[in-house]
């Protein structure tokens, strides 16, 4: 249980371009902190700086209460799952797993016990005597994970630890990691590309883009109230649909991508900027029309692509130059070229300032309540 604090941290590999710039964040003791961002945005770099593997070019890193900029990795008392595993090719799986324990002079039989436990949990029991090169990709990744898990250090860094596992195993691992982290009170910094992991595992998420923090917050808050269009499109899959929009004073209508016209409720009019803006709507908020839908709220779109995922159907259509996607639950019989009626509500729009990208209007809280459950006060 240790706090990790980054104050104005930057990093440059070539002394010219900063791949990480001015990061300020405090990760609380025992927190599960998830780091997401597009490929190459500097996530691994940040983890490696915290681990002490890369020099910090600017700013201060504190671990616990101490400044750790120049602390050597072995003094930081943390564990890490590397993106490329970094298994010891000359050691067996068992030895790889117990390497860190051996360093700490744990008794041999205790090491074995621990290794057995974690191998069991990760489905590696049959492979304990193999060398890494005789393992499949996912098995290697699990060994890397096992190595971090057994060490039970107060801080744990994981760099896409589940990327090579199948959905079932991944779901299992998600809950196991979370369980262990909670029960031991580990401070976890976790890099992932998986939306589900990001949404479900973290106490907070930080979204990084080109080395800069875009937003930090609770997963659901970030989902509902993305700070800018980048975050909006990055979190959520398929991403939020964006388009330019203008408010038409006389009609009291929002003109979206010069095509759609959406009535604006009277009480909202004051909040809208008079210049053009960027609006966003999540694919799941583009509903199929029902008999009750008012004709004026219905848009007709021409389907350019359809993907049926089993439990939901995603189809794309063009709005101006943008490609928009809609997600409908269930398996829909839609073909490319179909013209579909789609329905959208002003409440579900996110509106961003076009220049600064700032969020001006949030969506409403779509939180649903189960009928027989009482609404909390």
């Amino acid at each position: 249980m240790k706090r990790v604090e980054l104050i104005d941290v930057s990093k440059s590999y070539d002394k010219q371009v900063d791949v990480i710039s001015n990061i300020n964040v405090t990760i609380e003791p025992g927190e599960f902190f998830v780091l997401v961002g597009p490929s190459g945005c500097g996530k691994s770099t940040m983890l490696r700086m915290i681990a002490g593997l890369e020099e910090i070019t600017g700013g201060t890193l504190k671990i616990g209460e101490k400044v750790a900029n120049n602390l050597s990795p072995n003094k930081r008392d943390l564990s890490m799952v590397f993106q490329n595993y970094a298994l010891y090719p000359h050691l067996t799986v068992q030895q790889n797993i117990t390497f860190g324990l051996d360093v700490k002079r744990m008794k041999k039989d205790e090491q074995h016990k621990k290794a057995k436990e974690v191998a069991e949990m990760l489905g590696l029991t049959d492979y304990l005597d193999r060398k890494p090169r005789e393992l499949s990709g996912g098995q290697r990744q699990r060994v890397a994970l096992a190595r971090a898990i057994v060490s039970e250090t107060p801080i744990c860094l994981m760099d896409e630890p589940l990327s090579n596992l199948d959905a079932k195993l991944r779901a299992h691992m998600r809950s196991e990691i979370r369980r262990i982290q909670k029960s031991l009170g580990i401070t976890m910094i976790y890099v992932t590309h998986d939306q589900v992991e990001a949404m479900t595992m973290g106490d907070r998420i930080m979204i990084l883009h080109e080395g800069k923090i875009q937003q930090i917050g609770k997963p659901i808050d970030i989902y509902n109230y993305p700070a800018n269009p980048f975050v909006a499109t990055f979190i959520g899959s398929p991403p939020m649909n964006l388009a330019k929009a203008e408010f038409h004073e006389t009609d009291k209508q929002l003109i979206i991508g010069s095509e759609f016209k959406l009535n604006v409720p009277a009480e909202e009019i004051g909040k809208l900027p008079r210049t053009s803006m960027t609006i966003g709507v999540r694919p799941e908020n583009l509903y199929p029309t029902t008999p009750e839908t008012k004709e004026e709220d219905t848009f007709h779109v021409e389907v350019t692509n359809v993907e049926i995922l089993g439990n939901e159907t995603i189809f794309s259509f063009k709005l101006g130059k943008e490609e928009w996607m809609a997600k409908w639950g269930g398996q829909w019989h839609i073909d490319i070229g179909d013209s579909l009626p789609v329905h959208m509500e002003f409440e579900s729009l996110s509106i961003f300032d076009e220049q600064s990208g700032e969020l001006i209007k949030k969506t409403i809280d779509y939180g649903k309540y189960v009928s027989n459950k009482e609404v909390p006060s």
Partner: protein, 272 residues
Amino acid sequence: MRMSLLSKIWIYFLLLVTSAFVFFPVLYAFMISFMTGPEIIQGKFFPESINFENYTKVFSRLPLMNYLLNSFIVSASVMLGQLAVCSMAAYAFVFLKFKGRDFIFFLFISTMMIPWEATMIPNVFTIRKLDWFNTYQGLTLPFFALAFGTFLLRQHFLTIPKELHEASQIAGLSRFAFFWRVVLPVSKTSLVTLGAYGFLTTWNMYLWPLLITTNQSVRTVQIGLKQLQSQEIATEWGVVMAGVIVVIIPTLLLLFLGQKQLQKGLSQGALK
């Protein structure tokens, strides 16, 4: 990876002290090369004055530039020849599967165990039969095949991740293309090491060049060095050491350059 200041200082200290020890004899020779006869006999370490008399003597006494050039041609050819021949053999031992591979490899290794002195005389006769006395090929060709070099490269080739081989096969590379375009570039370290080894050992070779040359046309510097030393008549040590220094400067230079080359090669792509 970074290290603390204290360990940095400690490492620098160790580096300085140990490298001073290692380099001392060379420095000593360097000092002597500036001394006069009596100074040397008195066993001084620093010469009273820096004079280049010994050096002028070395150059006037021998066609040293000629020798240096010959040495360079011979050493460079042996180096290139060894790199070519050994890397091909090592490639076969690592990347080709064939019957009796281990046996042939061990046969290669066994050539290292044969005392060179035992093979020298018959080899002189062979060279004579080939009429290669006083020729560059006589000086170089017998050394192209080198079990040591094959062994060195084999050890390195073994550490090349097999994925690279696989990726190349899938890319449609022929055996030779894989060898030329992947194996050799990623083995830069070992090639430079072997190159340095081949160059230096050839540069330092004495007996063989002496035995198969009868005149100065293709003779190398080590023979020149020997010519500076007398047997029965008193040797002028200052001159000999000056010769030693002249002869080792190119090789030290080469080591330094090789070092830089290595460094560059390494920063460009260590194997995963």
